[in-house]
Symmetry: C2
Subunit: 276 residues, 2 copies
Amino acid sequence: MSLEAEWEQADKDGVTMKAALVDIGYLGTTPCHYRANKIQCHLELHIEQGPLLEKVGKTVGVVMSVQAMKWFCVRITGTEGHTGTMAMADRWDALVTASRFITAVRDTAKKTGLGVATVGVINSDSSSMCIIPGGVNFIIDIRCSTDAMVEQLSSAIFAEFDDITTQESNGTAYTITKSWGLPEAKFHTNCIDAMRNGALAEVPESLIMDMKSRAGHDSAWTSQFCPTSMIFVPSKDGLSHNPNEYSSPEHCALGAQVLLNAILNYDERVKSGEFC
Amino acid sequence: MSLEAEWEQADKDGVTMKAALVDIGYLGTTPCHYRANKIQCHLELHIEQGPLLEKVGKTVGVVMSVQAMKWFCVRITGTEGHTGTMAMADRWDALVTASRFITAVRDTAKKTGLGVATVGVINSDSSSMCIIPGGVNFIIDIRCSTDAMVEQLSSAIFAEFDDITTQESNGTAYTITKSWGLPEAKFHTNCIDAMRNGALAEVPESLIMDMKSRAGHDSAWTSQFCPTSMIFVPSKDGLSHNPNEYSSPEHCALGAQVLLNAILNYDERVKSGEFC
């Protein structure tokens, strides 16, 4: 489908992308789309958000790939009841089942060693301390080196959920909806090479490390459409998504210089005909 | 302290009860206080909110006492982190620890048979699926026949929390704050007797049952200041704090009639000098 035809397609409310942009005064003259304005390559600088560079005393990470990830929304239903009058044996407590599930998410990731699995968000239907919760929602974030490992780890976790439901045999039930996913992204050798050259112009090879990104990035998506790679600079204590996240000004400046070097290196090699 | 002196006492913001009532236009002429307007007795009708009357086919419950209850606020702290980059072994995940605690609350109540214990409310500091939760709050509701049993059950639960914290040895920590409590309330024999007479005037003795209230009620508080008792009518399927809570019009009308009979019976016995 052409870009214009795509913009003219109505959504379920009958609104086209073009009409929506006109409506908010944001329809410009330059098409903002990778097909209309082709991206030759995508080079990205980021803090590592993990502990590896710091741990081994390196300053630049050349990123080979981004690990695969999936999010699943879990809904558990039980029966609301009075915390004082409902006997323990008669309860269908959605929060107890959710708690066993959340513990199983962590335990299964540790036991299998396939990757990481986390529950960050939880919401109980009940806002009263004297109501047995009748429903609980939570979201699981699963990340592994490959798509196949994400499948393996999620299957292992859901098998635990089934076991727990059978053990409880307490009338609680659950549903799982896949919310979002990012397949494993392998970066382009040309971009990786330009990034490594950019780094070598600033620091000795002993301070450079090939690595995999364990966080998701814009580059994971652009890599589906154009040659892409990333570089990382160290994160203090590997902390990220935490108010104490920190990378030193020196490392940030080094990252910016390496990125500029890489862009110039890539550009020269396009001009020379080495890269197309 | 006299009632007037109590009203004139300033709170931590320097505001007296009397000034606050004047401020919102609610200072009336009749003192609304059990010491200024003495309550001779307190008789209360309620739906059972539990399954016992229905289960044994009775229609009126004469309530002897209200079980003891306590609420505890639990705060668990860990360390926020990135769900993709932080290895499973390095995590201080407050929600995993909270989940193990919540499961232990249920398991300990079932194992000891001392009473009921429930977590109805939970809140995670994180609202993002890609953040390892750094903090979680939840509230425990514990109810047992006696105050001593509430102490026993809460101690058993907190001992489990300590065991879990040691097993995890993952840097998560917790604090417990007592939020609210209601001591066991034993009702007055005069009121119980008037309630039983009121019931016997409407239904045969075989439909009347002596019982304990497992929910909290106004009567639990008034019983500390004046003779008090309650009657219960059946709750369908024992459901309460649930949208399907239901008591039949016939049972509600029977309860109202029994309550009226009891008030008249009590009143006559005060007039005759039997009750003072």
